[in-house]
């Protein structure tokens, strides 16, 4: 994303908006992660307590999801940079 066309006042406003969105995104990621790991790991409702097998699954699920998101984020940034370079070459 390129906000260099924005003037300083707009860039300052944009920073606040981005900061707020990052918090919202984090919260959304959190509840999404809970839902995903719960759905994948918990299938036995003969007890209300998490079994140790379920707990291990949830911990691995969380770990793996974070590493996955990080990797996707890194590739996403690279692809975005490539796309921007390609666009600048055109003009």
């Amino acid at each position: 994303m390129d906000f260099s066309q924005l003037n300083p006042a707009e860039q300052a406003h944009m920073s606040k908006v981005i900061e707020k969105k990052q918090m919202q995104d984090f919260l959304r990621m959190y509840s999404n992660l809970v839902e995903r790991c719960f759905n994948s790991c918990c299938n036995d409702f003969t007890s209300k307590a998490l079994s140790s097998k379920e707990e291990t699954c949830v911990m691995n699920c969380t770990d793996k999801f974070l590493k996955h998101s990080e990797r996707v984020g890194a590739r996403f940034a690279e692809q975005n940079a490539d796309a921007m370079n390609a666009q600048q070459q055109k003009f």
């Binding site: 959190y30 809970v34 719960f38 918990c42 409702f45 209300k48 379920e54 969380t62």
Partner: protein, 97 residues
């Protein structure tokens, strides 16, 4: 499940930052609740809909499902917090009960 911890000092008028935090907390809880309703419906309620009432098995399943979902919520929150602390200050990760 006070996701956004940290008691604030009493102020005079409407503090828009604090207001925003409270709205975000409300959004968060609504989001979690909706996901909980949907997940436990998928886990416990048969989609045949042969009768209008929850049967005994479904009701018991729902109760356990909610309890387990809360446990998972807690575990995931603790994990995120420990990752956040390891990553540095971890200010943004102080949100599970």
């Amino acid at each position: 499940m006070s996701f956004l911890g940290g008691g604030s000092k009493p102020g005079a008028a409407v503090n828009s930052d604090r207001m925003e935090m409270a709205v975000q907390e409300l959004d968060m809880i609504t989001d979690v609740f909706n996901r909980l309703v949907s997940s436990c419906h998928n886990k416990c309620v048969s989609p045949r809909y042969a009768e209008p009432d929850l049967n005994k098995g479904e009701s018991v399943c729902i109760d356990r499902c909610v309890a387990k979902f809360f446990e998972v919520n807690k575990k995931v929150g603790e994990k995120l917090q420990s990752v956040g602390n390891a990553a540095g200050g971890g200010g943004a990760f102080g949100m599970q009960s």
